[in-house]
Symmetry: C2
Subunit: 310 residues, 2 copies
């Protein structure tokens, strides 16, 4: 029997999803959810963000969550960090991975974090120096496939940024399609370039399903050799520029598709679906996930009575 190809699934709902919810999810509930997710076989969980509680009140409990969750061996527990102060807080909670973030487009970076890309790169260097070998480092590039203000983001700019990160000793890079504008042709081309130039870089792709291209883009990235994807339980998360549209690529829908295709995600689908089905109550609204509503493709229905004996 042919060995199945491994794909690593990285859960972002509790950070990327919860941060934009109207409702604060109680700390205890966050911890329970993360503990349940830890047992499904996910490769990584982005637990929280060590940012200013004023900027993101929903994640004001970063320390409590990070230090009180059960840490499953084999799962990487990451946290988003905006600067050295955040890094210090994250390291005090013993995170496995520091995730830095900036936008590839200048306007989006200014709008989102009020820094120029050059200032962001300076911050990255400071955090990298401060972190040393106390944690893994990952750099997330927002608007890597296009910007809602500037439009096209040249692939060369993304390539230049990655070179800067690699020079700083950052081990992982996430290319994020923040507003769901990437298409599969573009994704395949950029991923092939990145994989060719930095074959040992830990490359993650982070897609949004805003325009229904989330899973098609996952397929395109797979075909370029990418094996790490961010995803969000239930498809939580989203984009302030697309009200009503779907959010992040949905974790359980992605796992369902990849396993059906013959990939090995390491994730147990049924427990993941059970957890996803808790989300509408936790966040107080319906979520975009499809498989939680339809059931997996293996679901069978009873043969109708009218047909029996025909």
């Amino acid at each position: 029997m042919q060995e199945r190809q491994r794909v690593y699934i990285q859960e972002v709902s509790v950070r990327d999803g919860f941060q934009i919810e109207a409702k604060f999810v109680p700390t205890e509930q966050k911890i329970e959810l993360i503990n349940a997710l830890s047992r499904t076989g996910l490769a990584k969980i982005e637990v929280t963000s060590f940012t200013s509680p004023k900027a993101i009140p929903n994640l004001a409990d970063a320390e409590a969550v990070m230090s009180q969750i059960d840490r499953m061996p084999g799962v990487v527990y990451a946290a988003l960090v905006p600067n050295v102060r955040g890094c210090e807080r994250a390291l005090a909670c013993n995170v496995d991975e520091i995730n830095l973030f900036m936008s590839a487009s200048r306007t989006h970076n200014l709008a989102n974090i009020r820094m120029t890309p050059e200032q962001s790169l300076e911050q990255f260097q400071k955090v990298a120096d401060f972190t040393g070998d106390k944690a893994m480092l990952n750099a997330s590039v927002s608007t890597a496939f296009g910007c809602p203000f500037e439009g096209e983001v040249p692939a060369d700019r993304v390539m230049d940024l990655i070179q800067r990160y690699v020079d700083m000793g950052i081990q992982g890079v996430s290319l994020c399609d923040t507003t769901g504008v990437a298409n599969p042709t573009q994704v395949r081309e950029l991923c092939e370039r990145v994989r060719k130039r930095w074959p040992s870089l830990l490359l993650t792709l982070h897609f949004h399903d805003t325009r229904a291209m989330g899973l098609p883009n996952v397929m395109a990235a797979l075909s370029a050799g990418v094996d790490r994807f961010d995803a969000s339980l239930g498809g939580l998360g989203g984009c302030p520029y697309a009200p009503g549209a779907s959010g992040n690529v949905c974790t359980e829908d992605m796992v369902h598709m990849l396993e059906a295709m013959g990939y090995d995600t390491g994730v147990a689908l049924e427990p993941l679906l059970d957890i996803a089905r808790l989300l509408p109550e936790i966040v107080g609204h319906e979520v975009p996930g499809q498989v939680m509503k339809a059931g997996p493709y293996t679901r069978r229905y009873p043969v109708p009575e009218s047909v029996k004996g025909m």
Copy 2:
């Protein structure tokens, strides 16, 4: 400049979508909608179904719709037909194409149309004989990738059915993933087999997005050389076995993705989006389409005031 690869988009909303709506869409509104769709560049429109008005009351106006729409040159106007009586009615309205249908799985065929597959094939032969060269003939195979009652549907069974259709002189075949269970690996494998054995067959793939695999399956079929896809405006339609889940692959989301990828669909996206945005009022509920909510990937947002001058 490289010539863009042509993909043919075939609209099914007014038949496959409307037939399951709770509300009867008035005849005049159907005609207006079809006339508007005709002008967008779609390759084919499945206009209605010449079935018993008792079985599908929503399409009881088949004759009126089919005979009163404006026929745009270059657009194929098709109708679903269950038997010779339906075929006679359809031909009297001068349809371009007769679309026959049956399920690959015995239980689904019995449940859906109360015939065994053998009886369906007899009907197909009778309709083919009756039609002669008065219209094109297409055979739609439901549950071609799996059955909600029987589970797996062997690819060999689908291959055998196609051979029967080809022997009857049927020119086109649609492989339909009726309940949204197909995955991209399976789609690619079956499409490659079909394309290799019948290279000149007019092969259509008809996907549902029930489990978020609609557009990924389109990508898989494209990679196997398929260039014809059914789709439904707004993602109308659906599956009685998956309440709450999405319906057919959404026409404008598919056109948006394919054009972004560099394919030539022949369809003008903006007019199509304008028509899609009328649907919630026509059917009385929200529809799953994403691009109609988020806007196309080319959409630009004004630069925030706070950023200006930074």
